[in-house]
Amino acid sequence: MSLKPGRELRSFPSVPDTVADVDSFLDQRLRDAGFPDELMADVAVSVSEVVNNAVIHGNGANPEKHVDVEVEIAPDRISIAIQDEGAGFDPDTLPDPVAQENLLREVGRGLFIVRAYMDEVHFQMVDGRGLRITLVKIVSDGQPG
């Protein structure tokens, strides 16, 4: 199978409804491109984790600050970049959410789930702008099918 290539950037305010709005935007965009149903949940959950973090932690739920979501679709993969206006964080210093002593913590699993569901996760601090996290899901070898 092969996806229909394309690219789209949208900006969302840092408000509670944004996670659902991003989900709708992404769902429509990926379906239009022929993205397989069986991989949709992995992507939707992963994007929701990063968007929630961007709204709440990155932008401090300040509606004046925005979360930019850029979807890039290639024949064999999708790439979704989520950028906030925050100071960023070191992903390697987060507590291990599957350690026995952390199992009953209510928070702290988001990035762990993202890493389990996506094929690639990239972190980049953009000068003067914020943290950009790019998620990649590979769907096939790119051969028409």
């Binding site: 659902a20 949940a41 939707a44 929701s48 929630n52 599957v98 009953l104 209510e106 762990f112």
Partner: protein, 113 residues
Amino acid sequence: MKLSYEERDGVVILKPKGKILGGPDATLLKDQLQSFIDQGKTRVVIDLAAVDYMNSTGLGILISTLTTLRKANGELKLANVTEKIQSLLTITKLVTVFDDYETVEEAVSAFPQ
């Protein structure tokens, strides 16, 4: 996400429908569960049959509900856990934390009479 519930044999059965990804949906679910606890209804089953998928916010609500109910001498049980959510519970090692049952009837029956 849509939310409905019923009571059977002194057990509250909560039926979320759709996606649990955070935002107002998660707040609705959390508030509804807290409302049961405030009313002294501490035997709760969450029927996950109609939940397409959930993220860590949903898992956080399940954990918060479980720990709050246990402090009030109650219990949370899960029913109809879909393959996708089962996989999420396995990845996060939360399968060891929750009691899950194939049907709502089995989950309700598992509470002491």
